[in-house]
Symmetry: C2
Subunit: 297 residues, 2 copies
């Protein structure tokens, strides 16, 4: 398969669906709807939604069924970026080369746009109009998986520990592992598990997909840490070396660049092994895992 | 019925359930779990959860079924207060006589504690352990109702317009109505509708409960506006007259105190009429409506 055209096709499908699902800017209150759309359409690669669609396909499901939940996942990812960028948090002025939400709309609207995107995600996944013949119990399980991975035991927990570790010189590997598996890993795992649930996976397939998600999620974040050091500002759309400058807890900072590269590779291999029970339907998941550790942005 | 002991009993039940459902402070990450619990147990009257339980009872349902969703509603209400109090929003140092979340835990943790409470609400309402024999389709409908009323078309929308109207001298009645029905009314309506859904209400009962919720929600907020003027700082737990001082869009500011009082009374009457199809099971809802417009705090 040609991964580049696959990603392009899938992200176009996700973009079109996001445009359909999101409140229009013409609807009240304009400011928050504008801010929600601004950050959603600010050049995200749609990694999480595409992983959800690919996982649904891997277990033999109809990917259309997973489209609303895939978009919900992008809304949650986007809300987390808006809040992370706030002055009280990472205080970032740019994201993917564009001014961050609070720089454009002010802090108050940025906070509320984040809140609204998070809420919209659950409105969308529970919307009776987008049930797509999915079993109600499976839809509840998807909501529960997403909420668990996005909340204080998942992404928010990772963000808190990341923030509290910043600038500390004595961060150990278990702490960096906690941050990475929670801050980034949790949503990636939730994406593939939700896709499998909506695709009608049995227990064995679901467990394999969850293992894939955990390994690929960690590989993704380690690759991100490495990119922050090796990528150019132009490639990664933010200041290169900014993690180092801030004293962020990263894999290269704790175990060194070479060991971090090995670990990303190990995680990718583990993700591949988890997919052995699947046939060609899982090829997109395989290609994405490879892409995750070799990408330049 | 004795409303005072009913409210005491119900709020104790809600408090105990919140304590069971919320992450423990001993669980990682401690700071955010501590902040979540701090604001949840900061003296809230549990109006929304009690309304949900009362509405479940009014349609003949077992109130135990509505307990998880009732607690979820309190989590959403509490997250909205934490975020509203932030320096970028209302910049309040005190809430119900206690220092606000960001004063105790710092802005970053306060933002994340709010995010985590909102997410936890959806985790709880979709948790298979708390299904309580409720039909999965009804549970999805509850999640959808809550998310719709909490998001940009509901509470967040009301907060945005409220903020954007602050200090403007030309606010008209439709704008104040929009703010009130969205900022406060939406969650109150969602509470009673969710209670009715979980109690197994038929279409007619559901429509009556929704009408009750809309009228009672508006009455609640107008009563709040009036309290801000007439209550003492000690009674209301925040600076009396603070709405006026800020140029907040309120009913008394737009139509005068006497007309605002009439309107609160009209809304209460409308709420009562909506309940005419119910018997004594709806007495708690009736008593609460009366209490809403006569309360002193």
């Amino acid at each position: 398969m040609d991964l580049k055209s696959y990603l392009k096709e899938q992200s176009a499908k996700v973009d079109a669906a996001l445009d359909r699902y999101l409140p229009k800017e013409t609807e009240l209150p304009h400011s928050v709807h504008k801010a929600m759309r601004y950050s959603i359409f600010a050049g995200g690669k749609r990694v999480r939604p595409i992983l959800m669609l690919a996982s649904c396909q891997a277990v033999g499901g109809d990917t259309e069924r997973a489209l609303p939940a895939a978009c919900a996942m992008e809304m949650i990812h986007t809300y987390s970026l808006i809040h992370d960028d706030l002055p009280a948090m990472d205080d970032d002025d740019f994201r993917r080369g564009n001014p961050t939400s609070h720089k454009v709309f002010g802090e108050a609207v940025a906070i509320l746009a984040g809140d609204a995107l998070l809420t919209e995600a659950f409105k969308l996944t529970s919307d009776p109009r987008y049930a797509n013949d999915c079993d109600a119990t499976a839809r509840l399980a998807v909501i529960h998986e997403i909420a668990t991975c996005a909340g204080s035991y998942g992404m928010v927990g990772g963000q808190v520990v990341d923030m509290e570790s910043e600038g500390k010189s004595d961060i150990d590997l278990p702490t960096v592992q906690y941050i990475h598996t929670h801050k980034t890993g949790a949503l990636i795992k939730a994406s593939v598990v939700a896709g499998a649930l909506l695709g009608g996976a049995d227990e064995r397939a679901l467990a394999a997909i969850a293992r894939y998600g955990e390994a690929a999620g960690l590989a993704f974040q380690i690759a991100d840490d490495i990119l922050d050091i090796e990528g150019t500002t132009e490639e990664i759309g933010k200041d290169a070396g900014s993690d180092q400058a801030r004293g962020k807890a990263t894999y290269p900072a704790v175990i060194g660049l070479a060991a971090a590269r090995d670990e990303a590779r190990n995680m990718m291999d583990e993700a591949m092994r988890a997919l052995e029970i699947f046939g060609a339907e899982a090829d997109p998941l395989r290609e994405i895992a490879t892409y995750i550790v070799s990408r330049k942005s």
